[in-house]
């Protein structure tokens, strides 16, 4: 399966107060080929999706997702995290082809 230029993007506030709940938005470029589509020759295009997404904060899980072909192309995932202290969010999108697209975002908590 071809390599995808997923260019993952995340939106996380730069700062928060201790224990605050912050909104996190993520977007990755990916066709999420669902394995149902036919190409111009009438051949079925093989499934090729992001099947897993994980967000952690300072090593602790925020959310973990199992993803199926019915998620839309260019997966958009929005959720909330609680931040007890300053630190780093880590995001990982796992592709069927074995690639892992990663992003990080720092937040100052005071």
């Amino acid at each position: 399966m071809e390599r995808i230029d997923a260019r993952p993007r995340v939106r996380v506030p730069r700062s928060a107060s201790p224990g605050e709940v912050v909104l996190i938005r993520t977007l990755a470029n990916h066709p999420m080929e669902n394995g149902e589509r036919l190409d111009s020759d009438g051949e079925r295009v093989a499934r090729h999706i992001i099947h897993r997404f994980i967000c952690t904060f300072n090593g602790d899980t925020v959310i973990e997702m199992e993803i199926e072909p019915s998620l839309a192309a260019n997966p958009f995932i929005e959720f909330e995290a609680e931040v007890p202290e300053s630190g780093t969010f880590h995001f990982a999108w796992h592709d069927d082809n074995g690639d892992v697209y990663e992003a990080t975002a720092d937040i100052e908590v005071a």
Partner: protein, 140 residues
């Protein structure tokens, strides 16, 4: 033996019933199976689970859906009429700020989108939202 009009009608309607029956029965079984797969056979009840989706989606390629369920350990989204009815399952970790997820899903046709939540006490709850889809989004 003469074949009466009544008999023809009876046979015809029986045939019609057989032709029509499997579709709704099949769909109902499938949704039930999908739910049972997540709940391990338990029948989900009602609870604080909400699912928000547009009543009408012009484009089934990307329909915004939000699920929320205070006290949930994980939430699964199902689009039962899709070729791949399971959409995603989210597990909330210790740093989750709420038990909420927003995403965009594919919808092949008009259907009830189902959300299932597994609660921290081990119980299951279910909610659904009807979405009318103008143009299907599964490219089948």
């Amino acid at each position: 033996m003469t074949i009466s009009r009544r008999r023809i009608l009876a046979v015809a309607s029986a045939g019609l019933a057989v032709t029509l029956m499997p579709l709704p029965a099949q769909a109902a079984t499938d949704a039930g199976d999908l739910i049972a797969r997540f709940t391990d056979g338990a029948t989900p009840g009602e609870g604080p689970l909400t699912i928000s989706a547009p009543q009408i989606a012009e484009n089934g390629n990307a329909v915004g859906v939000e699920v929320a369920c205070p006290g949930a350990r994980s939430i699964r989204i199902l689009a039962p009429a899709n070729p791949n009815p399971e959409v995603c399952t989210v597990h909330f970790g210790p740093r989750a700020g709420s038990r909420t997820l927003s995403t965009r899903i594919r919808m092949a046709e008009t259907m009830d989108v189902i959300a299932l939540a597994e609660m921290e006490d081990g119980g299951f709850v279910q909610a659904s939202a009807r979405v009318r889809v103008t143009i299907g989004g599964c490219g089948g």
